[in-house]
Symmetry: C2
Subunit: 339 residues, 2 copies
């Protein structure tokens, strides 16, 4: 089968890889319908993380090709969406809603879903079937549910977004934008998008942003304070993962407010004393997307949300290298690869 | 009047200070019945924080001596308990339960309650009167409510302690011990005290600890994991404020669990990537004691809790220097000063 392999920074190739086969009775193999490139795939692409000849991709939707003997909740032919972390969904941590930290967790990235097929461990716990075969226009939205939508949604939940609240969103990538969509769905009264790109601002507004702040860092914080009677936002979504973005998020939050952070932290050190006196709640990490999948799939199926809007470039799998280049150069927010 | 003044590290004196008088219509002056020495008073005593000729103390109970024209909820002669942070209790932040971050907050430490009298700003928002003049044996417990009990209680609430949960407590000072008491009152199923001092272990057990872990750092974490099926505690109370204690708390918490931290952070830097992948909730800071005062006073009044047990040395105000020395040398957990 064809699949994406990263050989090192900037070196992405599509080549022949071995088609996966079932090795455990709880496995499934799916034929990928669509996959995409994640903001986190840019960390190794830019050399921040080290890779060598690694299969790439952890977002996916597709059709079940084969199932192991113990798989019971999905069947061959089902159209399925799964999280970027495979989980048994039965352990104590999964049952508490933290499937991305399942005691038997398997990162899907190790299989590389930017390919024609993928193995999915813990198929029962990981995959959720759609009510029927989806219309093709729903596929991008379902694919978004696999990671970026689920992550933005978790960020909003972690930030305790709700009715009557003012929410600020740090980061205008796909996750930040879908954090805005989630905040809107969760009933936020006011949603402030921090963005300086006209196209992303437009999508932010479409998703429900009521205000745009172009300033960053201390100036951005001052602007959020100005818009919130000097107090800061009730809820802040952090969707970048740098020292600056984390501090911008913490400082934009009022005492007793909540920061939901989902940008994968790189070289971040939080100053204890400042955090202590900020009085904020901090919660985040790898999103337990599986917790939200049934609800998100239903919202998409009922055409109540359009998270597929974050894909602004669609390429065939064979052109994956061009997709990485476009995201790296910020010519695309999020690239969908058709398979 | 007589009052404690710290001249520098290790240099505590009791000397004549000017008796406070009302300057704003929302002020009160109280005659202190009892006050105490806080773990945080040791930071300047040990030279970690810088002070010069500073009045000391922020914990207090006493009788209202005089009130400003606008004070309406307390009257002269009332026996009152107040938080270590004076707050108006009407602003948006106070109403959300974060009175220690009131937009008009005044730290009581600047008045120095280790004295015969103290000014209390925002008297209506800060002070809570007891149902009647307390029996003298209740005074230590009411005094504890002013800071250490309220702080331990907040830590337990921040750590989302509740029925069915396993709680670990890092730190066996007065706050950690009262975090145990709070966890017990809030219905925790299992409470693991991390302590290596026999006397403190005994008090921990009296307050409700079901297990004692003597190990610290990585060994302590391993022990907590061992006691929790490899997962970590649901809720962890951090009541020290050092890098080691914070990391011990975070690492002892299961994914999706809650850390309530109330040790005043000194030289702490939290590694972002580890925090991200820990998946814990982090909340803490200066405890909004005022939020809990009515409930805590009632529990004490009804003799349901005995937080005054943390005082293991009682001295007259005049001997404050000896009290500091005893706490610094760990000969006393918490020193009560009678006035």
């Amino acid at each position: 089968m064809r699949g994406v392999v990263m050989y090192g920074p900037g070196d992405v190739r599509v080549e022949e890889r071995e088609k996966p086969t079932i090795t455990r009775p709880t496995d499934a193999v799916i034929k990928i319908a669509a996959t995409c490139i994640c903001g986190s795939d840019l960390w190794p692409y830019r050399g921040t993380d080290t890779v060598h000849e690694a299969p790439m991709g952890h977002e996916y939707v597709g059709v079940v090709e084969e199932i192991g003997a113990d798989v019971s909740t999905i069947k061959v032919g089902d159209f399925v969406v799964g999280s970027f972390m495979a989980s048994d969904n039965t352990c104590e941590i999964c049952q508490a809603g933290y499937q991305s930290r399942c005691v038997h967790v398997v990162p899907m990235g190790q299989y590389g879903t930017q390919a024609e097929y993928s193995l999915v461990p813990h198929a029962d716990g990981t995959l959720v079937a759609t009510p029927a075969q989806p219309d093709s226009d729903l596929i991008p939205a379902l694919l978004a549910a696999s990671d970026v939508l689920g992550t933005g949604w978790f960020a909003a939940v972690a930030a305790e977004v709700g009715p009557g609240k003012t929410v600020a969103v740090v980061g205008d990538g796909a996750v930040g934008l879908l954090g805005i969509l989630a905040a809107k769905e969760l009933g936020a009264e006011r949603i402030i998008a921090m963005s300086r790109h006209a196209d992303r601002q437009a999508l932010a507004r479409k998703f429900g942003a009521t205000d745009i702040v172009e300033e960053r860092g201390d100036e951005g914080v001052a602007k959020i304070k100005e818009l919130t009677n000097g107090l800061g936002a009730h809820s802040v979504i952090e969707a970048v993962g740098t020292q600056e973005s984390m501090m911008q998020a913490i400082r934009s939050t009022r005492a007793g407010g909540h920061v939901g952070y989902v940008g994968v932290s790189h070289d971040v050190a939080l100053p204890g004393q400042e955090l202590f006196f900020s009085g904020v709640h901090l919660h985040g990490g790898p999103a337990p997307v599986r917790r939200f999948l049934p609800e998100l799939i239903q919202l998409i199926w009922d055409r109540k949300i359009t998270p597929g809007d974050v894909f602004d470039l669609t390429l065939p799998l064979e052109d994956a290298a061009e997709g990485y280049k476009a995201m790296d150069g910020r010519r695309a927010t999020k690239v969908l690869l058709t398979v």
